[in-house]
Structure formats: structure tokens, C-alpha cells
């Protein structure tokens, strides 16, 4: 059974001008010890999904529908106090900016022991030992000395290690990591990715890795969900999604990433921009930007359909419409050839 199951989750923001739907009916699951990547551009709803799972949606945001189940227990409708217990004990969180996740007035050790003492029945001495042990585990040199220092005495990469230690305090089953490497330099980013991978391998912790960086996903995740305008466009094994993208959006997204060693004058580009939440188009949210758009796309919203090993929400893969997978693949290949021709001529 899956460790985390999200079914038909809807997150809404009531505003004066009407209700905005930031996450619109998404379903996903994470198995034990698995890393699920969630990618998308800003405004795709990826962070909202993470926040909804840990129950930290900023008001007026609210879960308006669907179910979130962790370890067989439904957690989306729990009272605040109960959710707080689960948040420390079963779900850990790592956010983008390590400086805002740490209290500048408390020493690192105090922040760690506070969390440990809240969720276990360790004595202060044991908690301190555990804190030092955790710092060692996340690769902080001289942990016995560093444990009494304050966040400002740590560099960016070291702070993010402390935040990871904080998330690991009580051996959570699931870690929600929201852009954990975005604020870091590339060489530090590689260290943090390696650390996250090592830790979930050793502890069997499941990770939901939210990021906009496909490179990080390719290195870390087992499966990946691509989000667009609050919906899942495509979800599947990471290799399948990256190397054999099926949804036209995933395709465009992959083509627009510059890669070292790839000779081309121009990058593939998706025309336009992601719609604002106030005016998400009818039907498939991607249809105004999609090169393969046809009649049905502007009318009906596609469901996730199984295609090979992935699931894709795109009418191209709906066999009933006289189009099948082979035909749509051919279509995708043709447009790519056209784009290349254009690039060489232009």
C-alpha cells in the first residue's frame, strides 16, 4: 500500500473577485522509500500541493475537496493540534530558504532538541546527543562544537544541512522538500542532493521533491509529476518522462532547457505564458499554447490516461477520438522536424 495517497485534491483561495483554484483535482501517491519529483513553472501549484499535504496552507487558502491519506490515516481533516503532532513525527519539511526556516535567536542545538523533546520522550541529555548525532549524519564538521552555534554562523549550504537534520529529527516517514537546493550554489546543490538521496536510502524515508529544476529531478527522483496550471499534465517514471515525454507541455519544457554539448542556435520555445489563476482556459489548460490543439481540447478537460508506463492528461492519447498513440507520436515528431527546419532556415 502506498505511504501517501492524495485523491482528487482541490485547493482554493477565496478572494473578493471570486474563488481561485490553485490546485485543481489532482491525485498522486508515494510509496515507502520513494522519491516523487513534482516539477512545474511558477504558479503551477506545486508548492500548494506540498503545503496542503503538511497542512500548512496560508489562509485564506483551504483544501476544498479530496482526501489525503498517510499510512492509512486520513490527515486532511484533522484538528490543528493533532496535525501538529503528525507534522513533526511523520512528515518532515524542508523549505527553499534555510535562513527563514531557522530561528536566528536560538542556537542550532536548541532548535533540534526542542523538536526531539516535543515528539519523543527523550531526556534533555539524550536529545542533545541525538542532535549531535544528526549533525554528524548530515555532514557538519565538528558537530559537538557547532551544536551551540547560531544560524548566522553557518554558511548557506551548512544551514540547509541543519534544516535537513531538523526534518529528520524523529525519523519521519515522509519528507516534503520544497525547492531545497534553489537558493544554493551549484557545487553545494550537488552535495545536498547526494545527502538527501543517501538519507532516504538509509532510512527508507519517502520524499516529495518539489522543484522547478529538471536536472535536480533527473538526478534524484524515481517518479515525476509535471504540473501545469494546478493540474497534473503527466506523471510517470522519471526516465520515461524525461526521455520520452508524452504531453506536449512536457515536451516543450524539456526542449527549452539549454543543455551543455547540445548544438543548436535556438532553443525550442513554448509561445505565451502560463495562464493566471483568474483565467484558466476551458478544456485542457494548455490548449491555447499547444501546437497540437484540436477541437476537443478547448471544450473538455482530459483525464489522466495510462500511456505506456506513464499517465498523461492529453486528448492526443485518447483512442476513441480516432487518434491513437502512434498517430500522436508521429504528430509530435513532425512538429519537432518543422521546428528544426525553421530553426535552420531562420
Amino acid at each position: 500500500m502506498a505511504l501517501l495517497e492524495v485523491n482528487n485534491l482541490v485547493v482554493e483561495f477565496p478572494t473578493r473577485k471570486g474563488t481561485l483554484t490553485a490546485v485543481d483535482d489532482i491525485s498522486l501517491h508515494i510509496d515507502q522509500g520513494e522519491v516523487l519529483g513534482v516539477v512545474g513553472e511558477s504558479g503551477a501549484g506545486k508548492s500548494m500541493t506540498g503545503a496542503a499535504i503538511i497542512g500548512l496552507l496560508e489562509p485564506p487558502g483551504r483544501v476544498a475537496g479530496g482526501q489525503i491519506t498517510l499510512d492509512g490515516q486520513r490527515i486532511d481533516n484533522l484538528p490543528y493540534e493533532q496535525m501538529r503532532r503528525i507534522r513533526g513525527k511523520k512528515i518532515g519539511a524542508i523549505f527553499q530558504d534555510p535562513l527563514t526556516s531557522l530561528n536566528p535567536l536560538y542556537s542550532i542545538g536548541r532548535q533540534l532538541t526542542e523538536t526531539i523533546e516535543t515528539h519523543t520522550d527523550m531526556t534533555p541529555t539524550q536529545a542533545r546527543e541525538r542532535a549531535i548525532e544528526l549533525l554528524t549524519e548530515v555532514g557538519i564538521p565538528a558537530p559537538a562544537r557547532r551544536v551551540d552555534q547560531y544560524p548566522h554562523q553557518f554558511s548557506g549550504g551548512m544551514r540547509q544541512r541543519v534544516v535537513i537534520a531538523l526534518a529528520l529529527c524523529v525519523n519521519p516517514r515522509l519528507i516534503i522538500a520544497d525547492e531545497p537546493t534553489t537558493a544554493l550554489d551549484v557545487s553545494i546543490q550537488a552535495q545536498i542532493i547526494a545527502l538527501l538521496k543517501k538519507l532516504c536510502r538509509e532510512h527508507g524515508t519517502a520524499v516529495m521533491l518539489v522543484t522547478h529544476d529538471m536536472g535536480v529531478i533527473a538526478e534524484t527522483a524515481d517518479r515525476v509529476a509535471v504540473m501545469y496550471a494546478g493540474r497534473i499534465a503527466e506523471i510517470g517514471p522519471v526516465r520515461e518522462v524525461i526521455k520520452n515525454a508524452k504531453h506536449p507541455y512536457t515536451h516543450g519544457l524539456m526542449g527549452s532547457i539549454p543543455a551543455i554539448g547540445h548544438e543548436s542556435e535556438r532553443l525550442e520555445q513554448i509561445p505565451g505564458a502560463m495562464p493566471r489563476l483568474t483565467d484558466i482556459p476551458r478544456g485542457c489548460a494548455f490548449n491555447p499554447r499547444c501546437p497540437h490543439e484540436f477541437g476537443k481540447c478547448g471544450e473538455l478537460r482530459p483525464d489522466l490516461l495510462p500511456v505506456e508506463d506513464s499517465q498523461v492528461s492529453c486528448w492526443l492519447y485518447d483512442g476513441q477520438d480516432g487518434r491513437n498513440i502512434d498517430a500522436s507520436k508521429k504528430l509530435v515528431a513532425e512538429t519537432k522536424a518543422d521546428a528544426r527546419l525553421e530553426a535552420t532556415n531562420g
Binding site: E41, S187, G215, P258, A259, I260, K336, R340
Partner: protein
Amino acid sequence: MADAPALTEAAAAREARRKDPSAMLKVTGLKRYFDVSAPWLNRVIERQPRQILKAVDGIDFSIGRGETFGLVGESGCGKSTVARLIVGLYGPSDGSIELEGRDIAGLTRKQMAPMRRRLQMIFQDPYASLNPRWRVRDIIAEPIRAFGLASGPKAIERRVGELLEFVKLNPRDGEKYPHEFSGGQRQRISIARALASEPEFLVCDEPTSALDVSVQAQILNLMKDLQRELGLTYLFISHNLAVVYHISDRVGVMYLGKLAEVAASKTLFTTPRHPYTRLLLDTIPDLDMTGRERMPVAGEVPNPITPPPGCTFHPRCPFANDRCRAEIPQPRPLGDGAIVACHGVEEGRIPEGPPLALPPKPEGLD
């Protein structure tokens, strides 16, 4: 975009300039130090010495006409300071910046003014670099008015419309305010403003770092198009190696205020020489998922106020020896035009290492 004849004319002019071997911009021994000492009274009472931050510590490079020179490095390496020195937002502590043979480093404000027209900058954050209270047309018209490049409201309006079309926006967008645009569109407005003074040289400081990848692709393509049509020269600063590879002809790698390596883009990314360049290339997450083992890289960028003696990279360098710890390496040209500042490379004691295997673009994408 512009009419066809104008386009070919510009292209021909650019071709002619390209053949001109003289450098557009030449930077020699450029230094910028910042005094970050405690206040005088504290220094006296606590007996602290002065503290000097060497943000840029003696760098040389030149950029040819119509060329794109990329500058990469991690945060705090001084790459943005270089940008600000070149456009004159900071004065250099030492060294010269020559624009077509004329030193612009020591110019007074008045002497600098005509140079400013030829030298413009695009900033990282399109949210902070546009005045929220000005209409877009006024933002773009400001350089035109300041340099007197068009006379009369009609001519200015026409020019603003033209610039907006250049960056693929609608001339009617001039009526709007910056908040009505998305990040990518705002960066287009910044580019239009930079182009308004008809510059020849653009300094771009992380122009796409605040943007999503699909928008980044649009902006990078636009910048390449504009370069081709207008014969622009770019100094392109970024921490993203793949972006720099994509856009640059030549690349400089900075580490703690110094240039570690300068080489043609292709050379640098296929046969990186300096151990720091190799480290950087090795840390890029790889979309190809080869699962290759990485060189374990320990450590972080040291504090630039008290940099390590000798080669500043030696504490993180797997090839460091006693000479590296004592003597500062000087940049030395290698056979193929690359310039590397490394004792190990000079002595030939660094194993050539398999030239970093370039990952092909994932299948199904090309």
C-alpha cells in the same frame, strides 16, 4: 521585426565589424576593493585591523565586436562587481577598462555621459529594475530623451513603438504599467529600454535567473536574434553553466575575484583545464541520467575577506601541493587560446582526465 533591407544591411555591417580584429572592450588588471572595516572607534578600542574585501582582484579579458563573452562563477565570486565596474556604477580601485581603445575607467561624469549611450545594462530582477509608477512608454523613452536621440513627441512615440516590436511586444503595451506584465514580459521591457539608446555593448547580469525555463528560452532566443540583427556585443553573466554554454562564444570562469580560466565556449566545456572549472562542470545535475559517479567535492567558497594564501582554490583542490599553498598562480595562455591560472596545469602534473563526456541531449528531443 524590422524590414528586410534594414536587416540585411545590419547583418552586412555586423559581418564587416566581425572581421575587425580590434577588441570592443578590453579589461586590464581590473581591481575593486571594498573597505568593510568596523567603524574607526571600534577599530581603535578593539584593536582590529582594517578589513578589505577584494571583490575583483586583478582580472584581464577582452571582448571582440559582435561576440558574447560569458562570465560564470558561484555567488560572491565578484562577477556582478565586474558588470558594475564596466558600466561605471562602481569606480575601479585599479586597472583599466578600454572601450574601443579609450580608457573609460577614470572618466569624469561628464566625459562618461556619451560613453553611457553605447554601454547599457540588463539587470537580473525585472520586478525591481522598472519604476512601478511609470508607464512602459516613459520607461523606454527615458534614454531617448536623455541622449536626445529623437526630437518631438511623435518621433519618440514612433521609436518606442519600434523598440517594443523589437522585443516582440505590442506597441500599444506602452500605455500600461509594469505590474500588468509577467516576469518574462518585464524582462523584454528592460531589454527594450537598454536598446533605446542604440548601444553597441550590453552588460547582462543574470538576465534569466529570475525566470521560468520556458520563459528563459524565449528571452535567450530573443537576445540571440537581437544580436544578429543589431550587431550587439554582450557580456553575459550567469551562474547557470548550461545557459552560458548556449549563448556564449567565449567564457571566463571566476573564483574569489580572479579569473581561473578563459577559453572558447566549446573548448571550456569539452576540455576544462582548471580543477575549479572541472568541479563546476561535474556538479551540473545531468538530464541524461547516466548515473555517473561524481568527483566528491568537499568544502565551500572561502570567506573573501580572508582568502586562503597562494591559489585561493587550493583548500578544495584535489591536486594542490605546497607551491599552490604559497604562490599565487598567474594566468598563462595555452596552445589553443585558452588562458588558465593554475600551477598544476602549468607544470603538467594534473592528469588530463577524460575530457568530460558531454551528455547528448535526451533522446526523443532532437
